[in-house]
């Protein structure tokens, strides 16, 4: 059984915990992180907008790229330790939602954390990237709460009938 665990800043711990406790002991686990290219892209762009400043070596985008690379490696290393089971770590680059979909092609399960409104059970439960992944994943998806889920009383009342 091939299981991909999507490791994202802020919510990764719950996914790792779910993978450790809910998947069969012989499952092949992959810890997947995507380094978003739009963040250094925005820094490159802001520098390009400063017309006439020259000095491409001052472009903050390069520094952000290096920092992002180091941060991703660190996060995956810590996630692998936390998992405490044999796993492969993969860091991809690009649009996170697209890269995750491509990475789970042929996998048997994708573990994803809910990252929308976490104050209650109910709508708007997923951020845009997670929404896209859940909508487009070519395999079963395990959606986990980043922390203890709120109880049923947190569900908002249904909208009034028209």
């Amino acid at each position: 059984m091939d299981v991909v665990v999507w490791v994202v800043e802020g919510t990764w711990r719950a996914c790792v915990r779910a993978a450790r406790t809910l998947t069969p002991p012989d499952a092949n686990l992959v810890l997947l992180h995507v380094t978003a290219s739009d963040v250094p892209g925005a820094a490159h762009g802001a520098f390009a907008g400063l017309l006439g400043r020259g000095h491409p070596e001052h472009d903050p985008g390069h520094q952000v790229e290096e920092l992002a690379e180091a941060a991703a490696e660190h996060l995956l290393r810590v996630a692998a330790e936390e998992l405490g089971r044999p796993a492969t770590t993969v860091n991809r680059h690009g649009r996170p939602e697209g890269e995750v979909i491509a990475a789970v092609d042929g996998a048997d399960l994708l573990v994803v954390a809910r990252d929308g409104d976490r104050s209650r059970l109910g709508p708007k439960s997923l951020g845009p990237a997670t929404r896209f992944v859940v909508d487009h994943a070519p395999c079963p998806v395990l959606l986990v709460w980043p922390e203890q889920a709120p109880d049923l009383t947190s569900i908002p009342p249904p909208p009034p009938h028209r």
Partner: protein, 411 residues
Amino acid sequence: MSVVLLVAVLAFAVIRPRGLPEAVAAVPAAAVVLATGAIPWSHAVAEVERLAPVVAFLAAVLVLARLCADEGLFEAAGSLMARLCSGSPKRLLGAVFGVAAAITAVLSLDATVVLLTPVVFATASRLGARPKPHVYACTHLANSASLLLPVSNLTNLLAFTAAGISFTAFAGLMALPWLAAVAVEYVVFRFFFASDLAAGADGPPMPVPDRKAPTFVLVVLGLTLVGFAVTSPLGIDPAWAAFGGALVLGVRALVRRTTTPTALVGATSVPFLVFVLALGIVVRAVVDNGLSSAVSHLIPTGGTLLALLGLAAVAAVLANLINNLPAVLVLLPLAASGGTGAVLAVLIGVNIGPNLTYVGSLATLLWRRILHQHDTTADLAEFTKLGLLTVPVSLVLSVLGLWAGLTVIGG
């Protein structure tokens, strides 16, 4: 012909073939408009006389920012943001807004883009927060938080000279527009990045370096600001305050061998300063040869609120079509006859407008797309959506703030 030369100069500056400095195209272009008589010598001399002090002022601010960076001011800002947010991405965004707005205002947008952005990314990722909202905040605030002081943006220095008002009057009139623009950005960011900010900062244990704020640097910066305020009423050019601040930090850094004379000269970006002068001459030639009469009927006149809104809108559109630097050079001579209000409305337009695209103008965007200059590109649709949510509202509220200031303080 002048228009062709201007387009060539701007295209060269955006493409930068073989990494050549922008001045390589701009200086010969300025020489051509002079040699062919497209601009009379007297106009060119007047243009250089007008721009030279502005450019010198800018050089002093650039050196000041570099020296602050050498002294660890930006790392200290990173530590401060990390402490203030105590692990909450929402509070981190607030801290990033405060720090980026202050640094942009005092040390110019260049400092925020080049020096603060990597520090903000590092701070967010050390905390384990998703870095995107915070990095995007830096890129947006570099533009919209550059409204406050004449030193915050090169466009401001140009408008400041054109308006002929004191440093404190400028800051007084632009305080409300600045606050309005920053507030709009904050509200939109909280809403736009709600899920990234709610994701928490479950950071892998990564030591956050605790850098103390360099007290000496902060004192010198504070005195420089006081200098800006007191020089104007005394009839002294506030640029001297910037020179003074740069001189104190520069001499200290040279004595302590934390910098070299070469590094200090490098920080003034001489090719950039030459580029601005040459661009000014080429733009003046274009304005003299028909652009002013062609555009003048597009420029709203009169000091009414509606006229100010119209001016800011025209300026924002032009800044997006070309870039805000040539846009402000074109519009200032036309707006100057409308008084302080008109000049500052143009400034609001050219400073906030570039947030519509992530590279500051459609021309730059087009070239970068054509040339595939970077393998990593920002998500265009998302960034444009963010721009559409912030720019029009910021423009309107900032112009309202300016109008209120003009009514209360007077232009």
